[in-house]
């Protein structure tokens, strides 16, 4: 049993190192870091609620960069191994295909975790910088004297928004969403050989995942859809995750209090979904002619 873990760990580590050497992914990461850092200057376009705008732009930078890295990275996992024929060398050793797939996925997840962590640190730095600037402005307004009731409230609001613990919830949800997208892309990579096809298919699932909750509600619960629509919808929702569940990120960033129980429920949902996807991927990959 211990050997299985070591084998998966070795493949995951190798995948992570290999991914870090890929220029495309590094450029994407760099782009994400610059975008997160630059979000500070975007707030100049508005005259209020700078923290909300800062958080929206910063988290979107993490999400978009992560999405691209998850899809492009996952799309290259298996097709690239087949193209370079390195997969035969690995699988000729006592390594099961499922272990290989799991190792590859975990390597990619490692890269995504590293990326989210790095960008979150930059994001945290930008928020801290904004906090310092805002506090200085309030102190300048009071001219070193006692703060008025309004200024005291402004100061409290600055702390409330810049040191919002809800940010951790948002970052966790972003990471889970990216992990799920990467899982879907890995599932497609066990069936297809074309990188473009894998990226495109993952994108389609991603968008359907955002639409299906509303479609389900309108067509099924309201009874506005026909039999055919309902059948297609049931079929689609059987496979596709409900990505709307993660849309709560925007509310958290806007300052809405979300209970940790909801976050844990989404975490459980994501983990179980990932296990199902990876199990499916393992089954498909097992049967695949290499």
């Amino acid at each position: 049993m211990k050997q299985i873990y070591w084998r998966i760990y070795a493949i995951a580590k190798n995948t992570l190192i290999e991914s870090l050497r890929q220029r495309v992914l590094l450029v994407l990461l760099l782009f994400g870091l610059v975008l997160t850092g630059a979000s500070f200057y975007f707030t100049n376009f508005t005259f209020q609620e700078e923290f909300k705008f800062l958080k929206d732009i910063g988290s979107a930078a993490i999400s978009v960069t992560g999405l691209l890295i998850a899809m492009i990275g996952a799309a290259q996992l298996i097709p690239a191994e087949i193209e370079r024929r390195t997969i035969y060398t690995v699988l000729s050793k006592p390594v099961r295909r499922v272990e290989f797939l799991l190792g590859k996925y975990l390597g990619l997840l490692g890269l995504l975790t590293l990326m989210v962590a790095l960008m979150s640190i930059i994001f945290g730095g930008v928020l801290w910088l904004k906090e310092v600037v805002e506090i200085q402005e309030i102190q300048m307004q009071s001219q070193g004297g006692e703060l008025s009731e309004g200024q005291q409230r402004m100061l409290e609001q600055v702390y409330e928004q810049s040191r919002d613990l809800g940010m951790f919830q948002a970052l966790l949800l972003i990471w889970l969403k990216l992990a799920l997208v990467a899982g879907i892309a890995v599932l497609f990579s066990t069936m297809a050989t074309s990188t473009v096809f894998i990226v495109f298919s993952t994108l389609v699932v991603y968008f359907i995942g955002h639409l299906q909750a509303t479609a389900k509600e309108v067509w099924i619960q309201e009874g506005t859809g026909g039999v055919f629509e309902k059948f297609v919808l049931v079929l689609v929702s059987w496979f596709v995750p409900d990505f709307q569940a993660y849309s709560i990120i925007d509310e958290i960033l806007a300052g809405t209090n979300v209970e940790w129980t909801y976050i844990f429920e989404i975490t459980g949902y994501s983990i179980i979904y990932l296990l199902v996807i990876l199990a499916l991927g393992g089954l498909v990959f097992q049967e695949r002619e290499l």
């Binding site: 929206d56 009731e149 619960q221 925007d250 989404i266 949902y269």
Partner: protein
Amino acid sequence: MRSILITIALLAVWGWIKHPWESSISSQRKEIIYGQDLPVSFKLRETVGQELTLAALGGFRGLVATFLWISLTEAWEERQWTRVRTLADFAVTLQPRVLFFWENGAWHLAWNASVSVKKYAKDKSEARKDYESRQWIKAGIDMLERGIRVNPDRATLYHRMAELYWQRLEDYEKSAIYYRLASQKPYAPSYTDRFVGYALERAGKYGEAYQHWQELAAQSDFTERRPRHQKKVLEHLEKMKVKMAELESSEPKID
């Protein structure tokens, strides 16, 4: 063959668990976003178009709302008021729990647009300008009313509504009602309490106002928590006592 059967079985079991689970998550999500698990009929009118739009946006609702607001700021600078209203409507539809969009959207309509059409509109009669100005104020009220429906437990929008009735319509009675509602919500600024009294005085309801100031002065919690508020309440109560005495003495006496 065995793998295919396992795959089908796995999908069947997962699908069976997944549907009710996702429905429960969706219901909780709507409660967080809209404050309640709204029936679809309401959403069709006010939010569903939004859900489809935001779904199509692929989960970047907050970001889109942010950029819409930046466009709104441009439209405001160029005094394109219809565009301001459309963009504000879109922003509040995307993020109905963000009070900033409601209160500032209403401010643009009831203050900026309403004043601007009176001040800058050319080739229009005064009556026409007045009419248009009132329409923009109504649009601001409508926006705040919708915002209050979605966020009934937050003081900010009641506070803005009270300001709107006070400053734009000089309807102090309604202003007092909204200040009172604002003061009853959690984390309401302490001055909303005082403004109930000021508004009642402006409305000419001195008796009610005096009673309100007395009630405020009798509150036991404000000595430690709100010393400035206490000072202002007591000072104003003294003024009210004088005012009430004046009113009593000026009333015609029947022998």
